[in-house]
Symmetry: C2
Subunit: 349 residues, 2 copies
Amino acid sequence: MVKGILSTIIIYGTMLGTAFSQNSNLIIKEQGTFSAGGIVIKSQGDFDATKPWNVAQGGQTRHGDHADVFYQIPAKAKKYPMVFLHGYGQSKRSWQTTADGRAGFSEIFLRQGFGVYLVDQPGRGDAGQTTKPGQISAVPDDQTWFTQFRIGLYPNFNEGVQFPKDSTSIDHFFRMMTPNTGNVDEASVVNAMSKVFDRAGDGLFFTHSASGIIGWKTAMKSNHIKAIVSYEPGGFVFPEGEVPEGNRGGAGVSMAEFMKLTKMPIVVYYGDFIPKAETDAASLNFWRNVLATAKQWAKVVNAHGGDVSIVLLPEIGIKGNTHFPMSDLNNKEVAEVLGKWLKEKKLDK
Amino acid sequence: MVKGILSTIIIYGTMLGTAFSQNSNLIIKEQGTFSAGGIVIKSQGDFDATKPWNVAQGGQTRHGDHADVFYQIPAKAKKYPMVFLHGYGQSKRSWQTTADGRAGFSEIFLRQGFGVYLVDQPGRGDAGQTTKPGQISAVPDDQTWFTQFRIGLYPNFNEGVQFPKDSTSIDHFFRMMTPNTGNVDEASVVNAMSKVFDRAGDGLFFTHSASGIIGWKTAMKSNHIKAIVSYEPGGFVFPEGEVPEGNRGGAGVSMAEFMKLTKMPIVVYYGDFIPKAETDAASLNFWRNVLATAKQWAKVVNAHGGDVSIVLLPEIGIKGNTHFPMSDLNNKEVAEVLGKWLKEKKLDK
């Protein structure tokens, strides 16, 4: 393993060397970190400062369930910053880099002049302090994710997949996963993201996979979200009484809340390898069902006056994407597709 | 709580607004994230890709126990980058920011032209994936840390303490804590830090509190560490047979290993409020004992030809520092003291 890692370092070094010699310097006007949202819990009892380690004595607080944010604002920034939220088992690294160590989406768009806010959601990454305890299993499950993320049916790679096959990149990809540190409910995550937007101001919300649902729900709470860009969202929010079977977005919401989704442009992208018919691979059926729900949801939002586009990348000639189009080998091309949409919607000023 | 947080956001916004209007733009040549170190474990069994969620079936790997690094290299960078490792219950945020939202040490020195590498150690923050399970308690313990970190004997602040007393800053400070996500042994952390230096190259290692010991041990493993700057280290490494009672640095090392500590300049800083005599406050006695061991350790290293300075900040006229001199209200002054040392040792070229 030590030898494997050593070669990792050398290879990344070389690749990044190439990457930054092609780019000019980044001019940053402001950068920093902050927490947003969260609650405080208290224990009964009296704290004795002369015996501070006697935690069982109580009388203490715990601040938790906040989001942690790293942000960078370039000089001459465009009007709307981008706020990036990761999916299940991921952190802000999802958007910062790629399996093979190239620039991730936040870096690509920062260099185009967008302010970027990279979030670790409550109970994840640097926002690890929670108000409910957590148990973290270390049971090996890399191959579950390799398969669920449509890189392939492990150990096989999907044919033409836009994912690096060298062991160094695969090692790096698996090390980008990070567990929940405690139980945090969806409402707390939505609250924290709303607070992130209070700080960032009007902006564009980028979600991925499990955070898709957080995007829809935060847009119902915050008036600062001027567009949503969602890569492979897993669940959707329907009006009460109209929730289709199998939707992973939970119970329906009031029509008044739902109508907020019609007030901004929304674009949703899915990658490749989603079968048209049922297969014997559970992960592929999962994504087939999700895509069907996505299309149904877009129809409902648009029927109420919304502006949702569901884009299946292979249908516009971009083949081979996994569940992570924003960090796949062709992520620059995926970013260009988005760039056209941002321009069309006048969100790139 | 919601109102409290909202005022937090407004206050931070204002403060940062002030901060960056005083500073010129940051010119970044390269930035990115990477993992370093870590191992891979495997489960017995056969993975079936058609049923990927059947984790109990085994046949899978788990990549864990690596460090996670965010780095920035400014244009016209100085020769030696700085590598920052946090203490117990902390993450890279320790070095990025302060309780009251000002620039942390990594930002101060980045603006002076140093490359910076900000590390989440294995099992912490964005490096949360471990190979051994973890249990995270959510028992309230903020006041334990307030007291242990010598902000005061809670609820009292130490007189003249360089720590903000407004509720917004205190809220922010507690939210910078983040738990261990699994059991990772010291050797794995040292290995990961050695790999970080393989990537960063020759540089300066900044440690804080519990990571003090990681600094000494990584310097015995890596030839890339050209100096160590340690704020309030809690434990030390002595030669076998010379370990003093009460040292928190574990068993001794061979003289050959120990001698590596004599090959680089080392500076150690402690803040204020460490009593000269035993008191009835356990936390203060703790730090009194640590400081005594630090002085004893410096004597041993220096007797073998080393260059260790132990600086008690109040003794050079800098009063009121807590356990976090690098993020206290006077952190610019603390950085200036270090700047003089770097210049004296010709490490600022």
